[in-house]
Symmetry: C2
Subunit: 198 residues, 2 copies
DNA sequence: GACTTTTCACACTGCACGGTGTAGTTTTGT
DNA sequence: ACAAAACTACACCGTGCAGTGTGAAAAGTC
């Protein structure tokens, strides 16, 4: 089965469409974004969009899939590498937050996932991705808790609180300067450490 | 100027349209909600909708206006009456959260405001309502801070953290049971008191 | 250079929906 | 009872947009 349509230009165009779609979806929302607009933004014929993705919903699913994958990957890696038992909690938590921000905010993956989540039929795309980042974080926080660095208790809730004090707050603020975002993280981590550190 | 169209039925229909619109907007989003659907849900002719509100955007603004007004009113009253210097912080904060929930979640005012905020031209409807609840809360927290009940510092940020740990978390959870929501509030207030109480 | 795949421009269909016009019917105040 | 105001049913227009068909051009492969 040599059904590998790996024409390099094809791959490039596909990526361009995905990028443009993510950008447009994020800026204008799924409904307000026309496929024509995506095609134009990608510098591609509208027909080509439909050649790569069966319909608008399929395009949406692909964008979501991509963003979700890199998001989860970033969270997993950052959690494992920054939230260590041999490190000061405040320091590690702040580094974690910053890594998520630079790794997913810049490419808008986090925001895109939140934006497209309820919109469209993402059923089956990523099995209950909702709350998955928190679950990953919770599992790592459990490790820290057993080492006595973090207050014992509901790990899931602890993770939710961390996310609320940092990412959620940052995402709910539109037009955010780099410095303002970092201030949110510093303050959020500060409050988190006071509430959950020991 | 006898330009008072205060026909009682007219008032009732107007309210019915507003209610139906809020419900539909919240369930399906602004774009996915057709005026026909609102009219049907309100048990009213489509033409009547356009008689009361010039266009879909006007309807949106009216819904937003209404929700925002009751939201701010509820926050203001609850903050003044529950967050008092002669009361235990945890107790007051929990009562505050619960009052906001029963006062605005049940009628979806909080969620509606957040949903319609970016959508449509709300310019001039409510001058920078974004963050206004937090500002009210911040001002009340300042009072508590001066009484030594709450950690001194950026009052605005403190308010944001309270909101993040309670309302934001509750709103981001769809299909929330009454008991689950209360648990979120209890845990959130708990964390808040540890981080900001003294 | 011959062959295949991919892309493009373009024209076209169908539909959902925002918004209007109108003429008749119901509600309501006096 | 009467007239004004409010409402309804319904037909209608325009538009924006999802999605398709096609045949020719371009890009890439061998």
């Amino acid at each position: 089965m040599p059904d590998q349509p790996l024409r390099p230009s094809s791959v490039r165009k596909r990526a361009a469409i995905l990028d443009a779609a993510r950008e447009r979806f994020l800026a204008d929302g799924y409904d307000r974004t026309s496929v024509d607009a995506v095609a134009a933004a990608a510098g591609v014929s509208k027909r080509t969009v439909y050649d790569h993705f069966t319909d608008k919903d399929g395009l949406c699913r692909a964008v979501f899939q991509t963003a979700a994958t890199t998001l989860l990957d970033t969270v997993r890696r950052a959690a494992g590498e920054e939230l260590r038992v041999d490190r000061d909690l405040r320091e590690g938590a702040l580094a974690f937050a910053r890594r998520i921000a630079t790794g997913t905010f810049r490419s808008s993956d986090y925001a895109v996932v939140r934006t497209l989540m309820d919109h469209g039929d993402l059923t089956g795309v990523s099995p209950d991705l909702a709350g998955e980042p928190e679950r990953i974080l919770a599992s790592q926080l459990s490790v820290l808790a057993e080492a006595g660095l973090v207050r014992q208790g509901k790990a899931q809730r602890t993770a939710e609180h961390f996310g609320a004090l940092t990412f959620m707050l940052a995402l709910n603020q539109p037009h955010l300067e780099e410095s303002a975002m970092d201030e949110i993280f510093v303050d959020g981590v500060d409050a988190f450490v006071r509430a959950y550190g020991q």
